[in-house]
Subunit: 251 residues, 4 copies
């Protein structure tokens, strides 16, 4: 599978690294705003020992349509920013290139645009593309739906200097219809990231816990999504659309 | 809903107590092997202040067929032993009384008999009837099916004098296709019961944890099952059959 | 050791029950405000099968000085209320009866009175007399003193209807010089009581966790304290005074 | 404080990196067996931007006595192997250079040699030099000594491919007089390292948990030890000797 990556920040790099190490994927290029590191081999920048010949390109020096024609891919992975989709979305959809966006937030208009692109190609969006966090949300929604009366609270823990409430915790709360006041935020030392959903029944307690070990989890999330949408028809997909078939088929 | 209870051990009593406190259920009788406490009001024995007039009867002094005719119920709940089902099963099925069995173990023959009864009435069986443990197993199976490559281990903790590996932990391991060696058993002090399933990914960890607070959780489990099978047609059901509709309908 | 108990609420009863079951202690009497259950055998009220002949008496019908002379004890355990100490304190001190108070709060004047009594007899006070919570506070203070720069947060979890922040969590915070905002309170279902102190270092995290299983922990706390102060000279003692000798002697 | 480092494996590098970043320490040199990277600046190898001029030297090309005279230090930190101490120990002791050894295991003879060196200079040894693990052991011993009757179990979790039982868990078990069978080992995914000591009382449970975030914790452990032994007289010290003054002075 030929893959192009939009965005090359910290997480973008971790994702590129995960893709380079995976045999089923060929990272054709990274496309970024800044002209930094232009034309360098991605594998060299990331100090990964492999034969990959993909290079870094800048939107500064390339127009998207001829670029996509010159460097064809099956999937575009977007770790850029909210507005990134407008640079490449239409051109990609016209070429039936599948789109996986891991941008952490879109406004209504942007999300609507994503859905329109889904009329032409396969479009997937997850604001936190790790398998673990999405499973946590899914499993929590299942339990909430089975036991709508249960008390639910969220405890999230992160490193001392993380500002504000964790975006992922807010996503979990929204998915469960909880007020923000049900989120407890712990900030201490170098905790990478821990999200706990506590379900309090009268005579038993259930806890769903996700602990991040490192940023590379995003890379593996992208790979999981790519493998699961590659056969999907055009349309707009989210993580639940990937999870559901596992339920009916296999359990 | 009129309910009869077979078995009146520690857990049977906790279940009776939960049913007595619940407005939608009327506990008509307890039927037990031993003639102890025969004819006493259940509510008196359990020191619960309510108008319930259900009494304790013994199989010693009653034949099951005339007993069921004299004391009709909608559901029989079975907290007795493996062989209990043979005393009342056929008589109940003939009268279309639904059966909920919470007996912790049946051999193949006994389970086959249960399934045959399911050709005549609604039969439900769960070896651990708490909502929490069954949800844990269900959610763990979902994750295993989504990520079959993930490493899984189980840690179960119980009070010092609990003998052998927890039956629930063995159930979880079987459901996930794990060897028994993946179960770690901690025995310390008065821990009521804790089951943790650890899913180790390379860059993230997911934990599903169930903590028991008290035996009354079994009572609430019975009530949850009763509410969810009362409308079900004849057939043999397990917890997953109750959970699945929640997935398709509501998520 | 002959013991008298002041106060017979829920926790007082759990404590009486623990003492009745312990071979080294003889529960001579319970003294309470209300004349309820007066003159009944304590063992009968608590449905404990033992030879103890201690009975319930009411301050309504007894004056403290003649009462203590008629029913001599070595230790008085106080689970009553803030003002309880004024009813029996002076009379007990004059008779060299040791005092263990587990009253959860005293104002400055009351605490000063306790300390004055310590000039005449052995007086011990702990607002939460369980061994576990006091060890938690002690161990947390040790770590804070070793690593004063570490980030500390507290997470306490209790049953849904517990009002306000846990008093124990406030005690922990005070002992560590933390602001109240560092306490995160989770309220869900029937959680008996869990206190977690999280120490966040840059590259490691330490957690000290105390989980309550039941109210009987107070009884065992009283027994632990009684065994450890019985040889102590007159003076005012707290839990740390009991812990410290263990450090120098044995480690 | 001038520091020399013996050993330059993965952990040695993490320690060098922590020292380079700390203002109170000057890393004068790294001394290693292999002649790899000889004469290169340590800061360059570790890609740390600082003015430090310390270089890597090899025992291959240097004799220890003239080397220590030519490159004097206050403290030697040893992250090499069991036999490392014999290369530099005597020469260091003669020059009153303090020694901090973080070698994970010594046999009896080697430990005896360390103690003999303590007759001439300040010698410190800890097989796991992180503050957190040593505090865990210390706090666990305190609780065991307060409550010798308590049930204790250990749960340690590490990445899938870690062989054998964690050495740290074995140390904890030895310190508490526990059999190895009380250690439960979980191996899953990429868990960096978690050690939990569970104290089970009849009515309460206490858990002491240490979670590693990264190898840099060893560097901070070395710095903590160095700061606390620099004023100590000659002698053989372990972590408890550092912890104890904190107890008596400050609590």
């Amino acid at each position: 599978m030929k893959v192009g990556l939009i965005g090359f920040g910290k997480t973008g790099k971790a994702v590129a690294s995960a893709i380079l190490k995976h045999h089923d994927f060929e990272l054709e290029w990274v496309l970024r705003k800044s002209p930094k590191q232009e034309d360098r081999l991605i594998a060299d920048i990331l100090e990964i020992d492999c034969n990959n010949q993909g290079r870094v390109y800048s939107l500064h020096n390339h127009k998207i349509e001829p670029f996509l024609d010159a460097h064809p891919v099956d999937i575009i992975i977007d770790f850029s920013s909210e507005s990134g989709i407008f640079t490449y979305g239409k051109a990609a959809a016209q070429r039936k290139i599948k789109i996986i966006s891991a941008v952490s937030h879109y406004d209504h208009e942007q999300e609507a645009y994503l859905k329109r692109l889904g009329e032409y190609t396969t479009v997937f969006w997850s604001p936190n593309i790790t398998l673990g966090v999405n499973y946590l949300i899914f499993a929590a929604k299942v339990l909430k739906s089975i036991a709508p009366f249960v008390d639910i609270e969220i405890v999230e823990e992160h490193f001392k200097h993380k500002d504000g409430v964790s975006g992922t915790a807010i996503k979990i709360a929204e998915a469960l219809g909880l007020k923000k006041s049900k989120i407890n935020s712990v900030r201490a030392g170098g905790i990478v990231g821990k999200h706990q959903v506590i379900f309090g029944f009268k005579y038993q307690t259930i806890r769903l816990i996700h602990e991040s070990i490192s940023r590379e989890a995003f890379g593996n999330g992208v790979i999981f999504v790519a493998e699961n949408i590659i056969e999907k028809e055009k349309g707009f997909y989210q993580y639940e659309d990937i999870f559901k078939p596992f339920l009916s088929d296999k359990i």
